[in-house]
C-alpha cells in the first residue's frame, strides 16, 4: 500500500466524517427554518390561481385589523387557516381581557373565508350577530372579537 493511497484514504475518511456532521445539521435545519422544499411548491399554487382568481372579484387577499390595540395590522391571506386569540401560537395574538386564548378561527373553503367561534367566553360577532356556527365572511364586513375589529379586504 503506497504512501499516497494511504494519504488519500486518510483525507477521504476525514472528509466523509465531516460530511456526516453536515448531513446531520441539514436534518436539524428543518427544525429551525422549516423544510427546504416548502417555498417551491408554495409558489406554484400562488402563480396558477392568480389568473383564475382575477375574474372572481370577491376573493379577499388581506385581513386588516380596523379597531382595537392592534389597529392597522395586516395579514396576507394564504391557503392556511388563521387562528385568533390570546394564545402565543395564534396567527393574530390579542392582548385583550375580553378575548379567549383560542377565540376564533378563519379558514378558506371554496373561495370563501369562513369564521368559526372556538367556544370563546365573550363570543365572536359578525357585524351585529353572534357567530354560533361556521359562517361565511363577506368582504368588508367587520368581525368583532373583544375590543378588536377585523375585516377582510381585497
Amino acid at each position: 500500500m503506497s504512501e499516497l493511497t494511504l494519504l488519500l484514504i486518510r483525507l477521504a475518511f476525514l472528509a466523509v466524517l465531516w460530511f456526516f456532521v453536515i448531513a446531520a445539521v441539514g436534518v436539524i435545519r428543518t427544525d429551525l427554518f422549516g423544510p427546504r422544499t416548502a417555498p417551491a411548491p408554495a409558489r406554484k399554487p400562488v402563480k396558477q390561481p392568480r389568473p383564475v382568481s382575477k375574474p372572481k372579484k370577491g376573493e379577499p387577499r388581506q385581513l386588516i385589523v380596523t379597531g382595537g390595540p392592534l389597529q392597522g395590522t395586516i395579514i396576507n391571506l394564504t391557503e392556511t387557516p388563521i387562528t385568533i386569540g390570546r394564545a402565543n401560537d395564534a396567527t393574530l395574538v390579542l392582548s385583550d381581557d375580553y378575548a379567549s386564548s383560542r377565540h376564533a378561527r378563519l379558514f378558506p373553503q371554496d373561495g370563501q373565508w369562513i369564521v368559526e367561534d372556538l367556544g370563546s367566553t365573550n363570543g365572536t360577532y359578525l357585524e351585529r350577530s353572534k357567530v354560533t356556527r361556521p359562517t361565511p365572511v363577506p368582504l368588508g364586513v367587520p368581525i368583532r372579537i373583544g375590543k378588536t375589529v377585523i375585516e377582510l379586504r381585497k
Binding site: 493511497t5 494511504l6 486518510r10 448531513a23 436534518v27 436539524i28 423544510p35
Partner: protein, 448 residues
C-alpha cells in the same frame, strides 16, 4: 411542522454504519495493507444491531427525534474501531469483541427501556424510589463480598465473571430524582426564603432532601475515590437547580461550593492533591517518572501533538503507547490517528446529540419532561467536558468514560438507557396534539 422523518433517520443510520466499516477497512489497510477479515463481521454485526434498534424505535416511538440513534451509532462504532485497532497492536486488555457484545447488550437495554416505558411521566411517581435506588447503587461497591476494588477505586460490583460499575446507573436514578423533586418544589425554592445581599436563599426545609442526597452521594464517591463521578453528579445537581428555578444565584453558589470543596479536598485527601499536582506540573520530569505521575497524561498530549491537524491516519500512529488508551484515554488515541479535524468532528457529533436532547427539553410540554430531558442532556455534555477537559489538561484529570467510545460495559449500558429515555421524551414532545373536537362543527357545515 414536525414530521416523522423515518427516511432521513434510516439514511443517516446507514451512513453511520458505512463510515464505521470504512474505518475498519482503513485500520487494516494502515496496519498491514489489506482489508481486515473481521470487517464484514463487525460491520454486519453493528449494522444488524442498529437496524434492530431502528425497528424498535419505529414501532414504539415513531415520532422520536430522527438524529439521536444515527449520531450515537457513529460514536459507538468509532469507539469500537479504535478498540479493535488498539487490540490489533497487541494491547491485551482491549477487546473489540467484548465491546461489541456490550454494545449489543446496550441496544437490548435501549429497546427494553423503549418497550417497557411507554410514558416517561410515570417516572415522576417514583421520585423518592429513584433517589433511594441511586444512593443504594452508589453504596453497593462498599459492601463486603460483592464489592471489588480495581485500579485503586472501589467502584465495582462483581457478579460471577462480570464486573459492573453501579455508579453509572446511579447517575440516571439521581437525575430522575432531582427532576421529580425539583418539579414539585421549584416554586418554593425560587420564591420562598430570605434575600441575602443579591442572592435569594431558599428555606432549609425545602432544600433539605436534595442537599442530603447530594451530600450522601458525594461522600460515598469521595470515599470510593471516584472523583469523576462526584464531579459529574455535582454539576448535574447545580445545572438542574438552575433549570428549575432560573436563578443565576444557584450557579454562583454552585461554583463557590465547588471551588471551596476542591480546595479543601486538595488539602485533606492525598489522591486529590496528587491529581492537582499532575495537572499543574505535568511537564516536570520528576513527576513524569514518578509512580502514578503525569506519564499517562503527557503520553496523551504527545499523541495528540503527533496527530496534528490531519492525524497520522488510522492504523499508522502509536496510540497504544498511552496507558489505558482504549478506555479513559481513547480521546487522545483518536486524536493521534484522526487529528484535530477528526476530534472536532467527534465533538460536533456529541454537541449534536446534546442539542437534540435540549431541543426535546424545549419542545416538551410538561415541566417534569423539561427538567429530565435537560438534566440527561446536561450530564452527557458534562461527561464529555470532564473527560476531554481532563485529557487535554484544561481541568484536572478525573477518571470518567468518554460516553459510547471508551471500553466499558456499565457505562455503555447506562448511556444507551439515557438515550432511550431521551428518545422516549422526544417522541412525546414531537407527537402532534390530538385533533380539536371543534372541527366536527365544520363537517356539519359542509353537509348543509
Amino acid at each position: 411542522m414536525t414530521a416523522k422523518r423515518r427516511g432521513a433517520q434510516l439514511g443517516m443510520l446507514a451512513f453511520a454504519v458505512l463510515i464505521v466499516m470504512g474505518a475498519y477497512a482503513s485500520v487494516g489497510l494502515g496496519i498491514n495493507g489489506k482489508v481486515p477479515s473481521g470487517m464484514l463481521g463487525y460491520g454486519l454485526g453493528l449494522g444488524g444491531l442498529m437496524l434492530a434498534a431502528y425497528l424498535v424505535l419505529a414501532k414504539w416511538a415513531p415520532w422520536a427525534d430522527p438524529l439521536l440513534l444515527p449520531l450515537v451509532t457513529l460514536v459507538n462504532g468509532l469507539g469500537l474501531v479504535m478498540i479493535y485497532r488498539i487490540e490489533l497492536a497487541g494491547e491485551n486488555l482491549a477487546s473489540a469483541a467484548n465491546q461489541l457484545m456490550w454494545t449489543a447488550l446496550g441496544v437490548v437495554m435501549f429497546s427494553a427501556t423503549l418497550i417497557a416505558l411507554r410514558d416517561h411521566r410515570v417516572l415522576q411517581r417514583f421520585t423518592y424510589t429513584a433517589g433511594f435506588a441511586g444512593i443504594a447503587l452508589l453504596v453497593l461497591p462498599m459492601l463486603p463480598f460483592i464489592g471489588r476494588e480495581i485500579n485503586g477505586a472501589r467502584i465495582w460490583v462483581g457478579i460471577g465473571p462480570f464486573s459492573i460499575q453501579p455508579a453509572e446507573f446511579a447517575k440516571l436514578a439521581l437525575v430522575i430524582f432531582f427532576a421529580g423533586y425539583l418539579v414539585a418544589k421549584r416554586d418554593v425554592l425560587a420564591l420562598a426564603g430570605r434575600r441575602l445581599l443579591f442572592i435569594d436563599l431558599p428555606r432549609a426545609r425545602d432544600l433539605g432532601p436534595v442537599l442530603i442526597t447530594w451530600g450522601i452521594s458525594l461522600g460515598v464517591l469521595v470515599m470510593q475515590k471516584d472523583l469523576g463521578s462526584s464531579l459529574l453528579l455535582f454539576g448535574a445537581f447545580v445545572a438542574m437547580l438552575y433549570i428549575a428555578t432560573q436563578r443565576t444565584s444557584w450557579v454562583l453558589i454552585g461554583i463557590l461550593l465547588f471551588v471551596g470543596g476542591a480546595f479543601v479536598a486538595g488539602q485533606i485527601f492525598s489522591h486529590v492533591e496528587a491529581r492537582f499536582n499532575v495537572w499543574l506540573h505535568a511537564e516536570d520530569p520528576a513527576l513524569y517518572d514518578a509512580v502514578g505521575g503525569s506519564a499517562q497524561l503527557m503520553q496523551g498530549q504527545f499523541a495528540m501533538g503527533s496527530g496534528g491537524i490531519l492525524g497520522t491516519g488510522l492504523g499508522q500512529g502509536y496510540p497504544y503507547k498511552i496507558p489505558l488508551s482504549f478506555s479513559d484515554f481513547i480521546f487522545p488515541a483518536v486524536g493521534e490517528e484522526l487529528g484535530l479535524t477528526g476530534l472536532m468532528a467527534i465533538l460536533m457529533i456529541y454537541a449534536l446529540i446534546v442539542e437534540r436532547g435540549l431541543r426535546t427539553s424545549l419542545a416538551a410540554r410538561d415541566p417534569f419532561t423539561k427538567l429530565l430531558a435537560g438534566g440527561l442532556s446536561f450530564i452527557l455534555a458534562w461527561q464529555v467536558f470532564i473527560i476531554v477537559g481532563g485529557v487535554t489538561r484544561l481541568i484536572p484529570l478525573t477518571g470518567l468514560v468518554t460516553p459510547f467510545m471508551s471500553a466499558g460495559g456499565s457505562a455503555l449500558l447506562a448511556n444507551w438507557m439515557l438515550i432511550a429515555l431521551l428518545v422516549r421524551m422526544s417522541d412525546a414532545a414531537r407527537r402532534p396534539p390530538p385533533q380539536a373536537i371543534q372541527d366536527e362543527g365544520l363537517t356539519q357545515v359542509m353537509q348543509r
